[in-house]
Symmetry: C2
Subunit: 352 residues, 2 copies
């Protein structure tokens, strides 16, 4: 059986056992609380892993980009929520093509987006679902006024080619509740009841039941964990399913070694406040990944009892799993049941 030591570094490894544990835990939580679960595939970008999430009980998947959704449709996924405004003729045409192939809903916050979805749905001869995006407190996208949310829902109801599917919000927390309650009240005044109220985010995933009125949850990082989620306690280090395996290629002085993985392998996504450095070395938690260049990392090892030597391999838990996987054309999948193997990341780099 091929083990990880036979793969050339640096590479990103995904532990399928940990992945399956995380998928099962989240699905079981959602089942228990009668929540639909719609995993976000922007984290892994791999139809093969999305299929495992659907096989475990997910109602469909979430995508952030049309390009991701197209790759997922190619890979057999047939129910996608696209949580991004699709504006402009090129995206409308691609949306129409996608809607001919699979069930698609989009979430957005403007009349322009409703009209674009309507044109795509009419061109495809099949309705596009539309969820009204409500600002979850981030001030990013999303309607910020309950009456405006109801207006947009009415517009979706009235638009041919569109089927109004409900509300979507991100992030989801206690702070979201007053707005969502006011929006439901405004909808009720229009005689509307949202079929779906979709909330999202790994940090609050296991507290979704405390937030009244959500019917669906979206999350991506939950299936892998990363350093931010270990720090926040949402995923334990034992359950982290992602690691970048790197080799020590230099030891400039007693207190530092250099690894063959940098910002083009790990991403330069920053650590959570309270943490230090560009990732957590699993084998040496007392070491600090203090500096990254594109293809080198400097590891401060002064507190390590057994300092690594040139040629040693170390596994790095990235600060942010999504940024890391997106840098890899191929990853190594491994687990107790199967031989470790290279697998492609087909939706990697789908920026459009």
């Amino acid at each position: 059986v091929a083990d990880l030591s036979s793969f050339e570094t640096p590479f990103l490894a995904i532990d399928l056992d940990a992945f399956q544990r995380n998928v099962a835990r989240a699905q079981s939580y959602c089942d228990e609380h009668r929540l639909a679960f719609r995993p976000h595939v922007k984290t892994h970008k791999q139809p093969a892993l999305a299929r495992k999430q659907v096989e475990a009980g997910a109602v469909g998947i979430t995508c952030q980009k049309l390009g991701e959704a197209e790759v997922m449709a190619d890979g057999g996924l047939d129910d996608v929520l696209l949580t991004y405004p699709l504006l402009g003729p090129a995206k409308e045409e691609r949306l129409a093509t996608l809607v001919r192939r699979i069930r698609v809903a989009v979430a957005a916050d403007s009349r322009d987006a409703v009209e674009a979805a309507g044109r795509a749905g009419r061109a495809a001869g099949r309705e596009v679902g539309f969820l009204v995006e409500c600002d979850g407190g981030l001030g990013r996208l999303g309607v910020t006024d309950p009456d405006a949310a109801a207006d947009l829902a009415e517009r979706a109801v009235a638009t041919e080619g569109v089927s109004w599917a409900g509300l979507m919000t991100y992030p989801t927390s206690e702070r979201t509740r007053p707005f969502m309650e006011a929006t439901r009240a405004a909808l009720a005044r229009c005689g509307l009841e949202p079929p779906v109220v979709s909330g999202g985010g790994t940090p609050t995933l296991y507290r979704t039941h405390e937030l009244d009125g959500l019917t669906e949850v979206r999350a991506g990082e939950y299936a892998f964990g990363d350093r931010a989620h270990v720090t926040s306690g949402v995923v334990s280090l034992t359950d982290v399913a992602v690691g970048i395996v790197a080799t020590v290629v230099g030891r400039p002085d007693d207190d530092h070694v250099i690894l063959d993985a940098g910002s083009k392998t790990l991403s330069s996504d920053p650590c959570a406040s309270g943490d230090a450095g560009f990732g957590l070395v699993r084998d040496l938690p007392e070491a600090v990944l203090s500096e990254l260049w594109e293809e080198h990392a400097r590891l401060e090892i002064s507190r390590c009892r057994r300092p690594p030597v040139i040629g040693d391999r170390l596994t790095i838990v990235p600060n942010h799993v999504c940024g890391a996987i997106n840098l890899h054309d191929e990853v190594v999948l491994h687990g107790s049941g199967e031989e470790a193997r290279w697998a492609p990341v087909p939706a990697r780099g789908r920026v459009r």
Copy 2:
């Protein structure tokens, strides 16, 4: 003629006119000072652009990874300096395969790397060049003792399959000079004279002639510029050849808009000290790209006289060009002489 407005956002655009100006300027500087120029292709990852650099007069190219060098060899480049230690049987075998195809030198700082190069050279039946990497003050890789550098050079001279090619250092500055002088003296005591002394880095490119004894320069970012180099004054904004074109997809309040480009399009590489944000908006230099998510950016526009509206396109100069291009499978090449077109980035993501 296709102009940039016909391409779907977000995309990374490369201005070939500015690229050629930068390439010509650097080559002309090197010619004037009788320096060999060996551009670093880790910045653009595109054999077609590397060929333009060689056509302009470069002696060959520099690569940071074997995978980059393999792609460049596929693309017709035939003289590569690999400035990275190649350790382990997999890399040795790939090096041997590459050496059968093109002229290759490696720069490294250990006997293990000399021996690996020797085995690869003997397997290929063709010598691998070897440059002794000297620490340029970064404390990253490189021999830190002049006598150790001379020892390693002697080792390279004595190793079958290897041809000692000289010294390499990064970064290159006034601080490097005493070490390089001491190393040349140590080499002279062994009866050795370095055929090549290779220095590197865009920040000091146009001051290489002030540093005695360098025969060759390596630089990658010089051909594009980016926000860091505009700030430092090495490349003027007019000559910046790279931009990420994004669309305004939301306006949460009067002071902010949201763009359809985030850390998966721009990278989260930080700005230089003194700058703020994740890139410079060319069309709105007074705006601040204050927050990035994976596929969204928040632009603070309170100081803009003509605030952008939903649907507008903006061009972002990235903080760090190398991190940005590496995220794109395809880029848009444009220039006065030719129609704007998609072009692949064949060495993107070659982490090994």
